[in-house]
Subunit: 215 residues, 2 copies
């Protein structure tokens, strides 16, 4: 797949690198520093390059939105027309100090995003994990029991694209239903962050859904 990365912070940089190493064509975009984007593309190897948000969006099969919520409007404006695009968002509707969700329960950040880009297909994913665990999980992708990664969205085809990306970086995709489930996955992401950054075990954590009963 061709994957455009909007945002080159911890999540965007690491996920883009891993997508490239998993064999996808990746365009890194939206950093204050063009040098950083070029270094990311070089270090990722494979088919990765640096570009503008518009270039990242242009021929992308999926876009990863990985910016702080305060930058969403700006990066969307720079990306141009996103009608019919698949947008996988790991952006959370956080306040400036990253301590509280500013949107929830009657709406979610992902649903608010879907309203901003009415022609696009939004999938909420990659929210519920610390970036620190990404390379560990990718390195262990051949192991029998993979961590889960919850995603949700309203359209089947875009959800399949997101599930492919999730699978390719070493996680088991878990479908949490419609995009409105982001009202729950976004607070869950903050719970994971709390465990990762305020807990004693360190930030390299993930979770696995376990099934009992018949199976």
């Amino acid at each position: 797949m061709r994957v455009g990365i909007l945002g080159s912070g911890l999540m965007g940089a690491k996920l883009g690198t891993i997508f490239a190493r998993a064999g996808h064509d990746v365009v890194f975009s939206y950093s204050r520093s063009t040098d950083k984007l070029q270094r990311l593309a070089r270090d990722a190897g494979g088919n990765a390059r640096a570009g503008t948000p518009a270039e990242a969006a242009e021929s992308a099969d999926a876009l990863l939105l990985a910016v702080h919520s305060s930058r969403v409007d700006d990066v969307l404006a720079q990306a141009g027309d996103l009608a019919r695009k698949v947008i996988v968002t790991c952006s959370l509707p956080l306040n400036e100090s990253n301590t509280e969700l500013v949107v929830a329960h009657t709406i979610s950040g992902a649903e608010a995003l879907a309203k901003k880009v009415p022609g696009a297909h939004v999938v909420a994913a990659f929210q519920t994990l610390p970036s620190e665990v990404l390379f560990d999980v990718f390195a262990a992708r051949a192991s029998e029991t993979r961590p889960s990664l919850i995603y949700c969205g309203d359209s089947d085809e875009p959800k399949r694209a997101a599930a492919t990306l999730i699978r390719d970086i070493g996680f088991d995709p878990v479908d949490a239903g419609p995009l409105r489930s982001a009202r729950y996955t976004e607070p869950f992401a903050l719970l994971i962050a709390q465990l990762a950054y305020d807990g004693e075990a360190g930030p390299e954590i993930a979770y696995r859904l376990l099934r009992y009963g018949k199976q």
Copy 2:
């Protein structure tokens, strides 16, 4: 431990039964039907009996609050003075149709409960799992990898009591920090419910926190 169960719905009935089978003294209370409470106590075996909420609270080392949010005020009034009591709550601040959290992000159901009973120690636990999985997990408690169960609260001793109960029914307790983390654990509980009741795999699900990196 002596455990008082306030509420005899799915969670209260099953958790009380399992606490009794794990060796705790259990008092079931707060059902419309006294017969139901007596049947629960009989079926649980061990040191289980039926009682009023006041009897359940009287000499309890820990109380499990397992009623619908619309019944919290009533059961607290019946339980009497709860100063210095440990209250482990699995009650969620749900609306009448159980479809939305009515409290969150600037408060949580567990924090609201703590405000109602200022002398008591509230621990939020047993929220993030479907009742259907409880007996499976208890039956598998000798297995090497246990499911996790997230809990949070503001005082160490009551949290240790909750962790003991969690461990005794087959889960690994995971400390999510202060009671305000219930702002995240309560939406996470709804995510688990969504996966359990709207997913294809059935309701017998749990989750396990995985640690990577140094460990």
